[in-house]
Structures are given as C-alpha cells and as structure tokens.
Symmetry: C2
Subunit: 154 residues, 2 copies
DNA sequence: CTCAGATAGCTGTATCATACAGGTACTTAT
DNA sequence: ATAAGTACCTGTATGATACAGCTATCTGAG
C-alpha cells in the first residue's frame, strides 16, 4: 500500500464531507419547498434541468446521461407528464422512440426550484467571500467530472 | 481570471454541482463494495462512523444527530445488529433506553468501506494538487457546517 | 421481401430508505 | 400515586430505484 500520509488525510476528509453532504443534502431537499406545490424529487429535477440544458431527447439518452436505469426514467417521465411538466412525442425518425420535451410549466417549475435552492445557498453562504464561493464551485465541478470519468472511462 | 462577476453565477454553479454530486454519489455508493460483502447503506455507514467517533449512545441521540426519524434509526440499528455490526445493551441508568455500541466487526466493516472510498477518491483525484484537495476538503467542511447551522439555528 | 437479431420503451415485481402515527414500557414531577 | 413525558418499537405508506421480461419497431443479410 502506498500511503502518502499527508494527502490521505485530505482524502479522508473529502470522503467524510461528501458522505455528510449526501445526508444533509437529502434532508435539505426534503425541506426545500415541501407542502405547497409538490416538490420535484431529485431525479425529476435533474431530468428537467438536463432537458432544459441539452434539449429534447429520448428516454434512453436521458437514462445513459443520468446514470439511471431506463425503467426509472420511464416512470419519472410518466410522472412528469402526468403533472404536465414534460410532453412525449413520437420520434418521427424512429417508431420505437419517444422524444421528451419540457413544457413551459416544467421549465418554470424547474427554474423556481433552482432559484429557491440558489437562494438557499446564498443564504447559507452569506458570509463567504466571492473567491471562496467561486473556488468551491470550481472544485465541485472538477470532482464531478472526475466521478463521471471514473464511471464511464470510455 | 475575472472574478469580479455576478456572484449568483457561483451560487448557481454550486447548486448545480451539489445536485450532480448527489446523483453520482448515490451511484458510487452502490458501486463501492458491491457483491462480496453486503454493502453498508448510507445511513448504516454514517451510524457506524458516528458511533466510532462519538462513542456508544442511544437511538434518540443518533436520530437527532443524523437528522433521521427515530423509527428509521431503530430499523437501521436492528439490521446492523442482525449483521453483528452493533450490539444493544440496556441503559443501566434509564430503563427505557438502549445503548448502541459498534462491535469490532462493525468497526472493521466501516473502516473497510471508508478505506475503499478514500482509495477511490485518491484514484479519481490522482492528478489533483495537494493544495486543491486540501482546499476542497476545507470548503466542503464549511459547506456542511453551513447546512448544519441552517437546519439547527439555535 | 422475409426473417432474425438488435433496440426503445413499458410493466411487473422486489428492495430499500424513509416518514408518520400509534402502542408499550419506563421515568419524572407533583 | 397518578399524570405527563420520553424511548423505542411496529404497522403502514411513499418514493426511488433496479432487474427481468414483454411488445413494437427497426435494420441488415439472404
């Protein structure tokens, strides 16, 4: 085992903090916008964001991109459709496929949740310097990229 | 390096990256230590860590600390007991209470998962500078602290 | 053109984490 | 000694997810 004791403590701390973040993030999500209008669950939110970001696409593409099983995406999409947040249209170039598009309502709902969360972060990080915020955003981005690269090294 | 920029963009990016991290973190957990010996789920892992860290304690204390419902912790603890990872002993000073202690096997299992994850991070962050790792760890720590403070603003 | 194999999406079923409500046993204050 | 509070457990519900199997469709070889 090659143990770089100095660095492994940083790694250990990262591991700890990510685990904690997962726990608290879950609680926060549950608390962010309860009651009122039915909250978007984690997957629904990322689906809408991805649609808004990368344009209409089919279930398989979404599943691949979000690291989810196709059946999960199917059900999420069905729920989103039931709530009028996305529409399904037959893929004109492939009779098997369905193209998922966000509706205006879906985009709006997504934006509202996004804004609420951003506001929440602004609130929590009120006393952070702009540099620290920026650095955190950048490092998290790199961390996620590293995660993605590891899960799909192709 | 123009950081004299609208701060909300950093907040937005943080929001985005945290959401992504939640998604990928889930996948990572599922992949970390599959098959072989039954993985520790998120809650079980934090419970064991907390026990190792803060010593034996009762269900209510764990639930409060981990932001979980008491019933959830009860069930998690039952599962951990079934697997021989913790022991329950009656609280000598309170007939209603039960003190939860990690067993050697529990500590060892927890340490194994922890080591595997830390190794994984070391792997993924292989090309990061020690400074960046350290900074990420520190900023995540502050982020979690901010989350905790928000959830318990007493 | 026809048929075999691949692919897209859906459905059935299972698991797991979690919450809330209600019950039982014990403790504490009056 | 009784009422109120507390600790934990159990019943039940929800929601996210996976895997396996199904149907409809597409594509390519003959």
């Amino acid at each position: 085992m090659s143990d770089d004791h100095d660095e492994s403590s940083a790694l250990g701390r990262i591991e700890t903090e990510v685990a904690l973040l997962m726990r608290f993030g879950e609680a926060t999500r549950r608390a962010t916008g309860t009651a009122e209008h039915r909250v978007l669950d984690r997957a629904a939110y990322v689906i809408l964001r991805h649609l808004a970001d990368a344009g209409p696409q089919n279930v398989s593409a979404l599943a691949a991109r979000l690291n989810l099983d196709g059946s999960t995406v199917t059900r999420q999409v069905s729920a989103l459709q039931r709530d009028g947040l996305i529409t399904r249209t037959p893929d004109p170039s492939d009779g098997r496929g369905t193209v998922i598009s966000p509706t205006p309502a879906g985009l709006q709902r997504m934006a509202a949740v996004q804004a609420a969360r951003t506001r929440l972060y602004g609130d929590m990080l009120a006393d952070w310097s702009p540099e620290d915020r920026s650095t955190l955003a950048a490092l998290l981005g790199r961390l996620n990229q590293a995660l993605i690269n590891r899960n799909r090294p192709r």
